[in-house]
């Protein structure tokens, strides 16, 4: 590539090099590989019924991983993912159980989650604190506060609107919850923002080279703030989806959500150093985790193997990322 070409600037890269060079090509092959293995070992795996279940099980981590992707693309990391989502379920559940209007309650809960994201973004961009520390602090504060509010215990939330996202519709043999559809819609919208708008371009530029972004006149701090705000909003929507799956508000829930969402992002090929990767990879990453869990369970294998295999995948993904960085 470094040698001089005949015409000053080539027209375009070949289709082949584009497909092979796409960051989500590797994760997609891994996903297909696992699907093949599970399908060959157990014909039930490919049944539409089973595939529907995999999708439903992927919804919450899948949606949380959207926000996590945004934060990681700016070279940050979000450890408050699960805590902010639980904030949403507890607040919405409490308000509804107190007799407030369910739509307003859920709306208020989502607003609070957005505010939590905004607070994280403010501390990161305003005080220039490391995202790792800021979100770890928010995780601690929220977890303690939510246990205090709910007096330590989980409580049931029985309301048709809060449970609405768990309702199903049939689509050619597939049983899809509205939650699954909302997940795909969120992926589509945020994908568009990241890939087709100036806002998304600037997210990548900031994660890639903050100083260069500043020099070309991108308002870096304000942009970071908007990223964390959007992430918070997405965690709030995930809270609604969580109540649709399990009509229960539990302050001790989602403790593995941080690591699971980071796992989906990393397996999906997004770099922990920021500026590289994207949402398609994250969706594939979340599906890999879902497929592994489901396939191993179907095969009657101890689910501990799932943690082991995902652990290996994470290490491989990070190693590949590190290697490609050193090369360039």
């Amino acid at each position: 590539m470094t040698t001089a070409t005949v015409s000053p600037v080539e027209t375009s890269r070949s289709l082949k090099s584009r497909i092979l060079g796409a960051p989500s090509a590797g994760p997609l092959l891994v996903l297909i590989g696992f699907c093949l293995i599970f399908a060959l070992s157990n014909p039930r795996f490919l049944a539409t019924h089973n595939l529907s279940i995999i999708l439903q099980q992927t919804v919450i981590i899948g949606v949380l991983a959207i926000g996590q992707t945004l934060v990681i693309l700016t070279a940050g990391i979000d450890l408050a993912v699960g805590a902010i989502c639980v904030l949403g379920t507890i607040v919405a559940g409490k308000l509804v159980n107190l007799g407030y209007d369910p739509v307003l309650s859920m709306g208020f809960a989502i607003l609070l989650c957005t505010a939590a994201g905004l607070a994280a973004g403010g501390l990161v961009s305003g005080l220039r604190l490391p995202p790792f520390i800021v979100t770890l602090g928010i995780l601690g504060i929220l977890t303690a506060a939510l246990r205090l509010i709910s007096e330590g215990g989980a409580f049931p939330v029985r309301d048709p609107f809060l449970a609405w996202t768990g309702n199903t519709m049939k689509l050619g043999g597939f049983v899809l919850t509205y939650g699954v559809l909302i997940m795909f819609a969120l992926y589509a919208v945020v994908w568009y923002l990241l890939n087709q708008t100036k806002w998304g371009r600037h997210v990548y530029a900031i994660g890639n080279n903050t100083e260069a972004a500043r020099l070309v006149g991108i308002p870096v701090r304000r942009h970071l703030l908007s990223v964390y705000l959007l992430a918070g909003l997405i965690y709030g929507i995930a809270a609604w989806l969580a109540l649709g799956r399990i009509p229960n508000a539990d302050p001790n829930a989602m403790q593995s959500a941080n690591l699971d969402s980071i796992t989906a992002v990393v397996i999906g090929g997004t770099s922990l150093f920021g500026g590289r990767g994207g949402l398609i990879g994250t969706l594939i990453g979340a599906l890999i985790v879902g497929v592994l869990r489901n396939g191993l369970t179907l095969a009657g294998i101890d689910p501990l193997w799932q943690d082991l295999v995902t652990g290996i995948l994470v290490i491989i993904a990070v190693a590949l990322d590190q290697m490609s960085r050193r090369k360039s």
Binding site: M1, T2, A4, T5, P8, V9, E10, T11, S12, R13, Y192, Q196, T197, K198, W199, R201, H202, Y204, A205, N208, N209, E211, A212, A213, L215, V216, G217, I218, G275, R276, S328
Partner: protein
């Protein structure tokens, strides 16, 4: 003061002065970085700025591009006094700056880097309501600009990290050329590059000048300066020691003025 009158001025009809600084002072506490410096960039020229380490080259450039506020003195763009509040003001006024360290986003493609911070939006509702980027037009314009500057690059949708150091800096220089309306300033743009790559970037700087934009080039490299500059502004101890022409002065003359061993 008498040393600052250049031999050139007598022989030419009065040229248009694009950017001018008069008696600019910048102090940091007890340190005087600029001690009443004058500066003059003429239309269509490559003006090299040379000087020893600490002579005040970078500080002068920062004052000219709004990156710092002079303690006193005057700066004029096209003869009009200006007061930049920050680098963005200078950019809006048509002054683009290229920095020594590669100010590119390596994972983004060449076209995205050229338009970084100034992306084009699609026409119609797609652009205004849905904020959609016009990637095709940005690619086309990027290609056109690179061709016009005769800068060799692989495909425009390759990530910048796949380029050599010289090509990357070429992208940064081309970005400046693409958006500068008045002038381009480069602070040691080739300091991090090898010989062949430096040659590429110098060639690019020449094409920018040939398209009519004046260029201010700060450089340590005397052969480069003599290769490319129309005039040489020599800094010494925070002031302009002289402005000379590479046609009338040798490298030894310039070094002697830089170090104070001689005057122009």
């Amino acid at each position: 003061m008498s040393a600052e009158t250049t031999p050139l001025q007598a022989t030419e009809t009065k040229p248009h002065i694009v950017l001018e600084a008069r008696n600019v002072v910048k102090t940091y506490g007890h340190v005087t970085a600029l001690d009443g410096v004058d500066f003059e960039l003429r239309a269509g020229e490559i003006l090299a700025v040379v000087g020893d380490n600490g002579a005040g080259k970078s500080t002068l450039i920062k004052a000219l591009t709004g990156a710092l506020h002079p303690t006193s003195g005057e700066i004029l763009l096209d003869g009009v006094p200006i007061h930049f509040k920050g680098p963005l003001d200078a950019r809006h006024a048509g002054i683009e700056t290229v920095y020594q360290d590669l100010a590119v986003a390596p994972a983004l493609d060449i076209a995205s880097n050229l338009f970084l911070g100034r992306e084009l939006r699609a026409p119609g509702l797609l652009g205004s309501l849905f904020r959609r980027l016009d990637k095709k037009r940005m690619r086309e314009e990027a290609r056109r600009a690179m061709n016009e500057l005769k800068f060799r690059l692989p495909a425009i949708d390759n990530p910048v990290e796949s380029l050599s150091g010289g090509q990357r800096q070429g992208v940064a220089v081309a970005r400046a050329a693409l958006f500068a309306r008045k002038l381009v300033i480069m602070d040691e743009p080739t300091a991090a590059l090898g010989v062949r790559e430096t040659g590429q970037v110098l060639e690019l700087i020449r094409s920018i000048r040939d398209r009519g934009l004046p260029v201010v080039l700060i450089s340590h490299n005397m052969p480069n300066v003599f290769d490319i500059a129309d005039r040489i502004h020599i800094m010494r101890l925070g002031r302009r020691a002289a402005v000379v022409s590479p046609k009338t002065h040798t490298m030894n003359d310039v070094v002697a003025i830089m170090t104070g061993a001689a005057t122009a």
